[in-house]
């Protein structure tokens, strides 16, 4: 803090005069300066903002227009060629392949995303606790190894992992029977859990290790073991970090296509996969594609607008994942 305090001017009229004088002197200069630097900038900013929003807006408008109109006129002529309908939505929810329609894929997306968000979080917070608050030989080496696993692109792991799921063998030695026989979502849950761990452990470790040692020590003196400390102290204290990462992981899994293409086939495919497929097979049915795309981006947008702060934090933290 500065040691110099402003001089007290006791008389209110003097103070007023002074203030107005200041204003009168500075005001014109300030205004011109602000105008010069910001008018062009504001226009440019507006232009970029519009440019960035128009594509989404066009999709949104088109998804409500009748199929015939979408096929023959641009969405910007909405007022000349008026007509709004919900038919596209009811139609696209029935669209898909022989095994699955988009409504089913929406359910699949939910059924894949929720466990694939929670499971890695719980496992990672256990590991993060051990790395932060249990001393053991080789701790740093092991932690750096886990951290370094982030550099492995998913592409390196996909095919062998798929083989492991179908044959259950590691380096040719059979360990378990096939998991893929079970069907269902288990493969894609497990795959997403595995791929989330390096980043999750690293991020949560940063937060878990910032808990003051006194707090942990006090609990230990009171007779709590590691199990209780983790459950009663560490988990509640790191909730904000866990929430940020949960949102990031939720969106990541919801928006993922690559892992879904490999591990979620046929009747358990999520929306991204089915939409990519519909784009390939019915690429010119724009009334369906626009409605389908809007359904798929609805959930992320809701999350985005309702939990913005956590969302930005989570996305920034996990931006290199993949």
């Amino acid at each position: 803090m500065s040691a110099v305090l402003p001089v007290e001017v006791p008389d209110p009229t003097t103070r007023n005069h002074l203030r107005q004088g200041e204003k009168r002197l500075e005001a014109p200069a300030k205004r011109t300066k602000k105008r010069l630097t910001s008018r062009g900038a504001t226009v440019a900013a507006l232009l970029i903002a519009v440019l960035w929003t128009v594509p989404t807006f066009g999709l949104f408008v088109s998804s409500f227009r009748p199929a015939q109109e979408v096929r023959t006129t641009g969405w910007w002529t909405l007022f000349q060629n008026w007509g709004l309908t919900l038919d596209n939505y009811s139609q696209v929810l029935q669209a898909g392949n022989s095994q699955l329609n988009l409504a089913g894929a929406f359910i699949n997306s939910i059924a894949i995303t929720l466990p694939a968000t929670l499971l890695p979080l719980i496992i990672a917070s256990l590991a993060a606790y051990a790395f932060a608050w249990i001393d053991f030989r080789g701790k740093n080496v092991l932690f750096i190894a886990v951290f370094a696993l982030q550099i492995v692109p998913l592409q390196m792991a996909l095919v062998p992992l798929l083989k492991f799921f179908s044959q259950g063998s590691i380096f040719g030695i059979p360990v378990v029977t096939s998991i893929s026989d079970a069907g269902g979502y288990s493969q894609v849950w497990i795959a997403h859990t595995m791929f989330a761990l390096p980043l999750a452990i690293y991020l949560l470790h940063n937060f878990v290790s910032e808990i003051p040692a006194d707090v942990i020590e006090a609990a230990r003196v009171d007779g709590a073991g590691h199990g209780q400390i983790f459950f009663r102290i560490v988990l509640p204290l790191t909730m904000p970090a866990i929430a940020s990462f949960a949102i990031f992981q939720f969106l990541w899994v919801w928006n993922d296509l690559l892992v879904a293409l490999i591990f979620a086939d046929g009747a358990v495919a999520p929306m991204t996969k089915l939409l990519a497929e519909i784009t390939g097979t019915r690429g010119q049915d724009w009334h369906l594609l626009t409605a389908g795309a809007f359904i798929s981006i609805l959930v992320p947008l809701l999350v985005f607008f309702s939990l913005q702060r956590y969302f930005v934090r989570g996305l920034l933290a996990g931006s290199t994942k993949g």
Binding site: T37, T42, A44, A45, I48, A49, W52, T53, V54, P55, T56, L59, S62, T72, G74, W75, I107, I110, L118, I122, I123, L126, A127, A130, L149, Q150, I151, P153, Q155, M156, A157, L158, V159, P160, L161, V175, V176, I179, A182, G184, I190, T193, P198, G227, W254, N255, L257, L258, T272, T279, L289, A293, I297, P300, L301, V303, F304, V312, T320, G322
Partner: protein
């Protein structure tokens, strides 16, 4: 577990979610319970520890549908672990706790990332069925086939254009809206695409790019603009080499928001004294920007550039959804998947390894920069 998983797969989709989560939480609860009582002294607790050490690995393997001999081996290993733990210098039960916390993560990481990475690396030197060692043939194939070379070149074009343009656009936007009225809403508008999946973004942009014959009304916005300016409609996604650029625009559209948010925060961190000092020295706004602001946000700029570079190297969804690699737009990640689908596992693995080698230096550099930034703060 196979029996459990098959039973689970037979249930309605949304019923599976609470069941798997509940089962999992129960499992973790059991781990925490045993960890909690592990360090306690007395015969009873020792017996409990022994029972858990021997039975837990065996039961887990049996539940996962394993073979009897594997489960028996796991039980023996568990017994050995109990003895090691019992005679541990830091006290019985210590290793037991450590193992309870770490083993789920380490086990999954081994199976899911470490072992597959090794296998893919080996696979890259094997033939398409993985039966014979063929040396560098897969890599030679990649760098001699015109199409495969094109794939690698396209990826390089992605890395050269996307990070640079999105960073510049993000930086310009962050500067323009800095301290302006409604800054928050300006930010939301450009950041919003980050929430949208690449598949969704691809459909949005395919719609912008659609072309209709010149005799009809255009329904794609971009072609309408072309027509308004008196041009002929263009099929943007078919004409190479420019189609790759039009795909890159989608990634730029998504990533600019990321660049803008990070850089905006960095700009607000530039000391006001430096800016004022520059103003007193009579600099114009542009000089102030290049000589004070940019050096002030240098590390944030590097993080943004490298992060988007990594994203563009790994880009897959956009290419897959918009063109599926047709018309010479393929990239490494897409080709890796295509070769895998064509049962060319060796070549697929070779592409994965090339991708890994390309990403590796950037990721390491990026991690170092983030570390540095954290130290400064």
């Amino acid at each position: 577990m196979s029996a459990f998983l098959s039973w689970l797969a037979g249930l309605p989709a949304l019923a599976q979610v609470p069941i798997i989560i509940f089962a999992f939480v129960a499992l973790v609860g059991a781990i925490l319970f045993f960890v909690e009582i592990a360090p306690r002294k007395g015969t009873l607790y020792t017996v409990i520890r022994l029972a858990v050490c021997v039975l837990a690995p065996m039961l887990i393997l049996l539940a996962a549908g394993s073979y009897w001999w594997a489960a028996a081996a796991a039980a023996v290993l568990g017994g050995v672990f109990f003895i090691v733990d019992y005679r541990s210098r830091v006290g019985a039960g210590y290793l037991f706790q450590l193992f309870g916390f770490l083993s789920p993560a380490i086990l999954l990481l081994m199976i899911g990332l470490v072992i597959p990475t090794i296998q893919t690396t080996v696979q890259a030197f094997m033939n398409s069925r993985g039966t014979a060692f063929i040396g560098f043939d897969n890599f030679i194939w990649v760098f001699t086939q015109p199409e495969a070379i094109r794939t690698v070149l396209n990826t390089i074009v992605w890395v050269l254009i996307a990070p640079l343009v999105s960073t510049i656009a993000g930086l310009a936007y962050a500067v323009f809206i800095d301290k302006s009225r409604g800054e928050k809403y300006f930010k939301i508008m450009v950041f919003m695409p980050m929430a949208i999946s690449f598949v969704g973004a691809s459909i949005i942009w395919r719609f912008v790019y659609t072309a209709r014959p010149a005799s009809q009304n255009q329904i794609g916005l971009l072609n309408q603009v072309v027509v308004w300016f008196g041009g002929q409609p263009v099929d943007f996604l078919a004409n190479e080499p420019w189609n790759t650029v039009f795909l890159i625009i989608v990634l730029i559209w998504v990533q600019t928001g990321f660049a803008m948010v990070v850089l905006s925060a960095a700009i607000k961190g530039v000391p006001a004294e430096q800016l004022e000092a520059a103003e007193l020295d009579g600099t114009n706004p542009w000089q102030k920007f290049t000589n004070v602001t940019v050096p002030g946000i240098r590390s944030a700029l590097i993080v943004v550039l490298t992060t988007i570079s990594i994203a563009s190297l790994k880009v897959f969804d956009i290419v897959r959804t918009m063109t599926a690699g047709a018309n010479d737009t393929s990239v490494i990640a897409n080709e890796m998947y295509t070769q895998f689908k064509n049962f060319e596992q060796g070549r697929s693995a070779a592409f994965a390894v090339i991708l890994f080698l390309l990403v590796l230096p950037i990721v390491i550099y990026n991690a170092r920069q983030i570390q540095k930034q954290r130290e400064i703060r």
